[in-house]
C-alpha cells in the first residue's frame, strides 16, 4: 500500500533522507522511529506529497505521488504532530468540510460524521468553535476528521503527545482496530511503549538512513538485545564511537 523506492531527500547540502526503501502492506501497523532530526517528519511529508524526493519514488495504493498526487492523497489521511483546525469553524462544520473535500455523498457523510462523533465522544463540544478546544479535544476532533472518509492509509505523527492516559489507551485501541480493518497505519512516535504494544513492524531511521526494519523479534536479534524496545532502540541508534568502544 505504501512504497518508498530508494528515496533520498536533500535540504540544501544536508542529506535528510538517504536511499530509503520501504514496502508496507495493507492492514499493517508500521512504526517509524528515530532520534530527533533523523528524517522521520521529512519522510512523512514525502508520503503526503508535501515534499518531493530528490531522487527515488513514493507511491500510495499504486499511485505515484508525483504523477498522480491527488489520487494518492484521496486514499490517505495525515495527522501531523501539530494538527490544523479552522479556529472559526465548529467541530461539526470541520468534519463536514473534510467529508465534502473527500467527495463523500451527503447521506454517507451525515452518517459517517455521526459515527465519528459517537466514536470519539465529541457530543459535548462538537458545536463549539474549535478555538475553544483543549489539546485533547482538538486531538480527538482531528482523528475524527482523519477517519471520516475511511482512508486506506493513515499517517500519524506523534499522536500521543499531551494526551492523558485514558486518551492514549483509546488512541491505541483505535489504531489497532483501524489496522485490523485493513487500513495501513504509518505511525511515527517517540513513545516506545506504545510502538512496542501496537506495531506489526518497526523501522528505525538515523541521520536519514534506515538502520533497522522488521518485527520486534527481528530487531532484538539485530541489536543482540533481549529486552524492551527502548533498549533495542538505544543500542541501534548509539553514536558510532560508542558502538566501537562499547560493543
Amino acid at each position: 500500500m505504501i512504497k518508498l523506492d530508494h528515496v533520498s531527500k536533500k535540504y540544501g547540502a544536508k542529506m535528510a533522507v538517504q536511499d530509503l526503501s520501504l514496502d508496507i502492506a495493507a492492514g499493517e501497523l508500521f512504526a517509524f522511529l528515530g532520534p530527533n532530526g533523523a528524517g522521520k517528519t521529512t519522510t512523512i511529508k514525502m508520503l503526503c506529497g508535501l515534499l518531493f524526493p530528490t531522487s527515488g519514488a513514493v507511491s500510495i495504493g499504486g499511485y505515484d505521488l508525483r504523477r498522480d498526487g491527488d489520487r494518492a492523497r484521496q486514499l490517505l489521511s495525515y495527522v501531523p504532530d501539530q494538527p490544523f483546525l479552522y479556529e472559526k469553524l465548529t467541530g461539526r462544520e470541520f468534519l463536514q468540510f473534510i467529508a465534502d473535500m473527500y467527495g463523500l455523498p451527503r447521506a454517507q457523510s451525515a452518517s459517517r460524521i455521526a459515527e465519528m462523533i459517537e466514536l470519539f465522544e465529541l457530543h459535548e463540544f462538537i458545536d463549539d468553535l474549535t478555538e475553544r478546544y483543549s489539546h485533547g479535544m482538538r486531538q480527538r476532533t482531528v482523528f475524527a476528521a482523519a477517519l471520516v472518509h475511511e482512508p486506506r492509509v493513515l499517517i500519524v505523527d506523534e499522536p500521543t503527545v499531551g494526551l492523558d492516559p485514558h486518551s492514549v489507551r483509546r488512541l491505541k485501541d483505535l489504531l489497532r482496530r483501524q489496522a485490523d480493518r485493513g487500513t495501513t497505519v504509518f505511525l511515527s512516535s517517540h513513545s516506545l511503549d506504545v510502538v512496542e504494544e501496537l506495531a506489526d513492524r518497526i523501522a528505525i531511521i538515523e541521520h536519514g538512513r534506515l538502520v533497522a526494519c522488521g518485527t520486534l523479534t527481528a530487531l532484538r536479534e539485530q541489536a543482540a538485545v533481549d529486552g524492551p524496545l527502548e533498549d533495542v532502540f538505544l543500542t541501534l541508534t548509539r553514536p558510532v564511537e560508542d558502538k566501537v568502544t562499547k560493543p
Binding site: K9, K10, Y11, G12, L50, P80, E87, F97, E131
Partner: protein, 599 residues
C-alpha cells in the same frame, strides 16, 4: 461537491462565525469599526467633493477632461503598484507560510483550487482599503459630474475587474520568486522596493526641478501643459489603470458603448492574467512549497546541523547579547547602538528591547515601509527651497506647519502600525516573559522607551531638516521639537498601553493586528491626540506669525504678540499635561491588564 464551491462555503462559514463571535463578545466592537469607517469615508468624500467642485467651478477645469483624467490615471496606477506588492506579499504568506497550507496540500484538493481560494482572500484583504479610501473619491467625482445612475453600477465592476490584474501579477511574482530564488526572496523583495522608491524619488526630483520654472516664471497654461508631460507615463495606452480611468470618464460623459469597451478590456485582461497565474500554480505551487521548505533560506537548518562540537560564543565580558547573536546571525553594530542609546532603561529590559529590535530589523516588510516614507519625506524636505524660492513670510509659516503635520502623521502611523502590535507579537510564547524575573510593568515601560526613542529620533530628525531648510528662527524650531517629543511620548504611551489592554496573541501578522479592532481604536485615539497636541502647541505660534503679517493688524502688532504669547505659553503647558496624561493613563491601564493576565 465542486471544490470551488466548497471553498466559497468555507469562506462564508468562517466569515459568519467570526462575525457572530465578535458580536457575541461585544456589540461595541463591530459598531465602533463601522462608525470609524463611516467617519473616514465621509471625511474623504467631503474633501473630494469639495476638491472636484473647486476644480470645476473655481478653476474651470473640465471634469471629464485631461487634467482630471491624469489625476484618475495616477490614482489607479498608484493603486495598481500598491496592490501588486500587497497582494503579492499576502499571497506569499498565505500560500507558503500559513499553517493551513500543509493541511490543504496534504488533501486531495486540486492545487489550482487552493491557489484560487488563497488568491481571493489575498486580493480582498489587500484591496479593502481602496474600498474605504477610493470609493468616496470616485463617488464624489460622479456626483460633481452629475453622472447618470449607471456610473454607480459600473464603478464596482470596473474596480473588481481591475484588482484582478495586480492581484494576479503579485501572485505570479510570489510563485516565481519562491520557485527560482527561494534563498534570496527577502533580498529580491528589498531590491524591488528599493527600485520602486528610487524610481518614485527620481520622478519626484524631476518634478521638483521643473516646478519653479514651470509654475512661477511662465504663463500658467503653458506651464501646466509642460508639467502634465511629466505624468505621461501614467497614460500609456497599454496600462490597465488608464483603461479604468478612460472608462469611468466615458461613463460620466454618457458614452456607454466606449465605457463598456474599456470595462470588457479590463475584465478580459484581468481574467486572462488570473488564468495564467492559476495555470502557473498547478506547476509551481507544490514545487515552490517543496523548494522553500527544503532549499530556502531557513535559518534552522544551518544551526541544527552545525555539528556536535559547535559551542556558542562565551560571554567574556562583552555584552551578553553578543553570545546569543552568534548562534544564528552576526552581531550588529545597531544592537550595540541601541543598547547604548537606551542607557536609562533597566539592563534586563534593555535586553528584551534588543530582542524586539532584532525581530523588527530582520523583517524588511516592517521597516521597508517606514524607510520608504521617511526617505520620500526627507527628499521633499531637503528640496523644499526649489519649490519656494522666497522662504520667508506666509510660505515659510504655512509650509513649516504643514510639514510638522506630515511628520506627526508619520509618527502616528509608525506607532499604530509597529508599536501597537509589539506585545501581541510575543504570541503564545508570552508566558516566557511572564516567568522572567522581571516586573511586568518594566516590560511595558521598556517598550514605551523603545518606541519613544525611535519616534523622537526619526520625527525629530525630519522636522529639524525641514525647519533648517525653511530657515526658521530658533524659537519655532525648539517648539516643533518639543511638539514632536510630546507626540512621540503620547503616541507611544497610547500604543503600548492599548496594545497591552487588547492583546491578540493568536495573530502573527503585525499588519492584521494593527488593522483589528484594538489597532483601529488606537489609530483613531492617536489621530485625536495628534490634533489636540498640534492645536495646543503649534497652532498658536503659527497663528501669531500669520496675524503679524496681516497688513490690517500692522499697527496692533504689540497687542497681538502679547495675546499670542499668552496662548502659546498656555498651549505648551496644556500640551505637556495632555502628553503626560496620554503616557500615564494608557500605560497604567496596560500595566493593570498585564498584571491580571493569566498564561
Amino acid at each position: 461537491m465542486n471544490q470551488a464551491l466548497l471553498f466559497q462555503k468555507l469562506r462564508l462559514r468562517l466569515l459568519r462565525n467570526s462575525w457572530r463571535a465578535m458580536t457575541q463578545q461585544s456589540s461595541m466592537r463591530p459598531l465602533t469599526i463601522l462608525l470609524c469607517s463611516a467617519i473616514v469615508w465621509t471625511f474623504i468624500f467631503a474633501i473630494s467633493w469639495g476638491g472636484f467642485l473647486f476644480l470645476h467651478t473655481e478653476v474651470g477645469v473640465p471634469l471629464t477632461g485631461e487634467i482630471v483624467g491624469i489625476l484618475l490615471d495616477l490614482l489607479f496606477l498608484s493603486l495598481a503598484v500598491l496592490l501588486v506588492f500587497s497582494s503579492g506579499l499576502i499571497l506569499y504568506g498565505s500560500l507558503f507560510a500559513s499553517p493551513e497550507t500543509a493541511f490543504l496540500l496534504s488533501s486531495p484538493v486540486a492545487v489550482d483550487q487552493v491557489f484560487a481560494y488563497k488568491f481571493q482572500g489575498a486580493v480582498a484583504f489587500s484591496s479593502w482599503a481602496f474600498l474605504l479610501l477610493g470609493t468616496p473619491i470616485l463617488i464624489a467625482y460622479g456626483l460633481v459630474c452629475e453622472a447618470a445612475w449607471y456610473f454607480y453600477v459600473l464603478l464596482p465592476l470596473f474596480f473588481l475587474g481591475f484588482v484582478l490584474l495586480p492581484g494576479a501579477l503579485g501572485g505570479l511574482a510570489a510563485l516565481l520568486i519562491v520557485n527560482y530564488v527561494p534563498k534570496r526572496r527577502k533580498q529580491v523583495l528589498s531590491v524591488c522596493l528599493t527600485a520602486l522608491v528610487l524610481v518614485l524619488a527620481g520622478w519626484l526630483y524631476r518634478m521638483v526641478q521643473a516646478a519653479p520654472t514651470e509654475l512661477w516664471r511662465e504663463e500658467m497654461r503653458e506651464a501646466v501643459t509642460r508639467l502634465l508631460s511629466y505624468f505621461q507615463f501614467t497614460r500609456n495606452p497599454l496600462a490597465p489603470s488608464h483603461w479604468v480611468s478612460l472608462g469611468l470618464r466615458r461613463v460620466v460623459r454618457g458614452e456607454i458603448g466606449a465605457a463598456l469597451y474599456y470595462l470588457a478590456l479590463v475584465w478580459s485582461n484581468g481574467l486572462f492574467l488570473y488564468v495564467i497565474a492559476a495555470a502557473a500554480s498547478t506547476r509551481l505551487y507544490r514545487r515552490g512549497y517543496n523548494r522553500m521548505t527544503t532549499g530556502g533560506d531557513l535559518q534552522r537548518f544551518p544551526v541544527l546541523f552545525r555539528g556536535r562540537n559547535h559551542k556558542p560564543a562565551m560571554d567574556n565580558g562583552r555584552l551578553p547579547l553578543a553570545a546569543v547573536g552568534k548562534e544564528n546571525h552576526r552581531e550588529s553594530w545597531m544592537d550595540y547602538l541601541l543598547y547604548a542609546v537606551l542607557v536609562f532603561v533597566n539592563p534586563r529590559t534593555r535586553l528584551l528591547l534588543i530582542k524586539d529590535f532584532r525581530t523588527f530589523r530582520r523583517d524588511p516588510q516592517q521597516w521597508g515601509q517606514v524607510l520608504a516614507f521617511c526617505g520620500l519625506m526627507l527628499l521633499y524636505f531637503a528640496n523644499i527651497r526649489r519649490f519656494v524660492e522666497d522662504v520667508s513670510g506666509p510660505y515659510q509659516n504655512s509650509i513649516s506647519f504643514l510639514n510638522l503635520c506630515a511628520v506627526a502623521l508619520l509618527l502616528c502611523t509608525y506607532t499604530g502600525r509597529f508599536v501597537y502590535p509589539m506585545l501581541s507579537l510575543e504570541g503564545r510564547r508570552f508566558w516566557i516573559l511572564g516567568l522572567l524575573p522581571l516586573k511586568r510593568e518594566q516590560l511595558l515601560w521598556g517598550k514605551f522607551a523603545f518606541s519613544m526613542t525611535g519616534g523622537c529620533l526619526i520625527a525629530g530628525g525630519l522636522i529639524l531638516v525641514s525647519d533648517l531648510m525653511l530657515l526658521m528662527p530658533a524659537p519655532p524650531i525648539l517648539l516643533h521639537l518639543l511638539t514632536v517629543v510630546v507626540l512621540a511620548a503620547g503616541l507611544s504611551g497610547l500604543s503600548v498601553g492599548l496594545g497591552a489592554c487588547m492583546p491578540n496573541f493568536r495573530e502573527r501578522d503585525p499588519s492584521k493586528i494593527a488593522a483589528g479592532f484594538g489597532g483601529t481604536l488606537n489609530l483613531v485615539a492617536g489621530l485625536l491626540f495628534l490634533l489636540l497636541i498640534l492645536g495646543l502647541m503649534a497652532v498658536p505660534w503659527h497663528m501669531e506669525a500669520y496675524l503679524t503679517m496681516m497688513p490690517f493688524l500692522s499697527d496692533r502688532k504689540s497687542e497681538v504678540a502679547l495675546l499670542s504669547e499668552g496662548f502659546i505659553g498656555a498651549g505648551v503647558v496644556l500640551g505637556l499635561l495632555a502628553g503626560i496624561a496620554c503616557v500615564v493613563l494608557p500605560l497604567r491601564a496596560g500595566i493593570r491588564a498585564l498584571r491580571e493576565m493569566e498564561f
